[in-house]
């Protein structure tokens, strides 16, 4: 059903809009809130993201990942682009006010976002400082320099932790998906 929403959006089925909002509205809004400097920015970003989703829907390929991660990819591109253009503006919340992330439980994650479930499992295996750096960078939108400042770490250490952490998640996701594909073939 879920990939069908994107396919129907791509084919211009106006009736799919509400279903698209039902399925992705909260995800996009949550990402926009986290990665925008102000509430008004988040609203503007959400509008742009949904236009991007419609324009990109035809490119969705279920064999390459879940629809939710596809949508999150589009959302992140737009949000990062907006953050860069807004450059030196202060964040919506001071760094000390950042909430800790409630990571989804891989055991209960719906099968429709299986790649997100693999990512959550991979995160559990990371060193705490690797997970913390990825959380601040990817979930709270802090730059590597801001993370270094916040954690009183050298910038090189932040880069190294992020590099190793994200590469580990990437490897884990590839292994898991190959494993799933292998089991399905067998």
């Amino acid at each position: 059903m879920n990939s069908t929403v994107l396919q129907r959006m791509a084919s211009g089925d106006v009736a799919a809009v509400r279903e698209c909002m039902d399925r992705y509205g909260a995800l996009v809004w949550s990402l926009a809130r986290r990665l925008s400097r102000t509430a008004a920015d988040a609203e503007d970003a959400a509008q742009e993201i949904f236009l991007d989703i419609w324009r990109s829907a035809a490119r969705y390929d279920a064999s390459r990942g879940s629809d939710k991660v596809f949508v999150a990819t589009i959302a992140r591109r737009r949000l990062i682009d907006r953050l860069r253009k807004k450059g030196g503006e202060p964040p919506m919340e001071p760094p000390e006010a950042l909430e800790s992330i409630a990571w989804s439980d891989p055991a209960t994650e719906p099968a429709t976002a299986i790649d997100a479930s693999h990512a959550a499992r991979a995160l559990q295996e990371l060193r705490p400082e690797q997970r913390q750096v990825l959380e601040l960078g990817l979930m709270h939108g802090l730059s590597q320099s801001e993370i270094a400042s916040r954690l009183s770490m050298p910038l090189g250490t932040v880069k190294s932790l992020m590099r190793r952490g994200l590469m580990r998640v990437r490897e884990y996701m590839n292994i898991e998906i190959e494993g799933v594909a292998g089991r399905a073939d067998g």
């Binding site: 106006v14 102000t38 976002a113 479930s117």
Partner: protein, 283 residues
């Protein structure tokens, strides 16, 4: 991702650039650096890392926060209109392109810099109506993120803009639409803040129950088939000069052209550009 990773490993410098790209974006210098390195390995890793970052984002969203109803309604309307217009509109797209392509004769000049080559004629018709500056009626949709009662009047906005250095004054071309007969219009635009106002004299008064005028901004960073909605406005029967603040509903990075259309009451999210009354190019 279903495909296996690339066989060749990227070096640390390339990885750092790729990871920065997916976590916070690259500066133009860093992007050029990556472009030099760019090859099959970089592309494959960029795709994988972006996918991993997005998967982490979904995993970390947990119980997502519901989108506000008003915003959801706005986005639904925007999407439905965009899809409907796209479906109907090979013609609309062609109209949009031809409209923006056809504004080469518009005049752009910098206020406060060199003397204006057309100052006598334009000053004449603007001065003739200067005492009749009217606040524009009928803004049906407030600009995003702006609270009521906080905005300056159109005349105040115009004066504030005119006091800024480097402001552009863009003469609009009036079309053959009956409503545009004998009218004149221009845009005062601040390219640094991407904000401005439109001024009209002689535009035919409208019945808001039948139709409204709507402003559009063609942003160089966006698909030219979908100009940014700049707000709707009315021209009262007794209006002389009408000053209309441009309230872009989406951020404008680089305005390339401006247009005014006649639309149904309340305006539209995506215009077919079937009734363009004025258009002008920003350089």
């Amino acid at each position: 991702m279903a495909e296996t990773g690339p066989q060749k490993e990227p070096d640390e410098a390339m990885l750092d650039l790729l990871i920065k790209q997916v976590s916070e974006g690259l500066s133009p210098e860093e992007q050029r650096e990556l472009d030099v390195l760019d090859n099959e390995v970089a592309s494959a890793y960029a795709r994988d890392l972006e996918h991993a970052a997005a998967a982490i984002s979904v995993a970390g969203t947990g119980e997502p926060e519901p989108m506000p109803q008003a915003l959801r309604a706005r986005i639904e309307a925007q999407l439905e209109a965009a899809m409907a217009a796209s479906a109907a509109s090979g013609a609309a797209a062609r109209n949009a392109h031809s409209s923006t392509d056809g504004v080469r004769s518009s005049t752009v000049r910098s206020i406060g810099a060199a003397p204006r080559p057309q100052s006598r004629s334009t000053a004449g018709w603007w001065a003739a109506a200067a005492c009749l500056v009217l606040a524009v009626l009928g803004w049906l949709r407030a600009p995003l993120g702006q609270g009521p009662g906080t905005a300056p009047t159109p005349a105040q906005q115009l004066n504030a803009l005119l006091a800024q250095p480097g402001i552009l004054q863009i003469q609009l071309d009036m079309t053959a639409e009956p409503a545009a007969a004998g009218a004149k219009a221009d845009v005062v635009w601040d390219p640094r803040t991407q904000q401005g106002v439109m001024r009209f004299v002689g535009l035919k008064p409208n019945d808001p129950a039948q139709h409204q005028y709507q402003l559009w901004i063609f942003d160089g960073d966006r698909d030219q088939r979908y100009p940014v909605d700049g707000g709707v406005f009315n021209v009262p029967p007794t209006a002389g000069q009408v000053v209309v603040p441009i309230h872009a509903k989406l951020p404008v990075q680089a305005a390339k052209a401006f247009a005014v259309t006649i639309e149904k009451p309340g305006g539209v999210v995506v215009s077919g550009l079937e009734h363009v009354v004025a258009i002008g190019k920003a350089g």
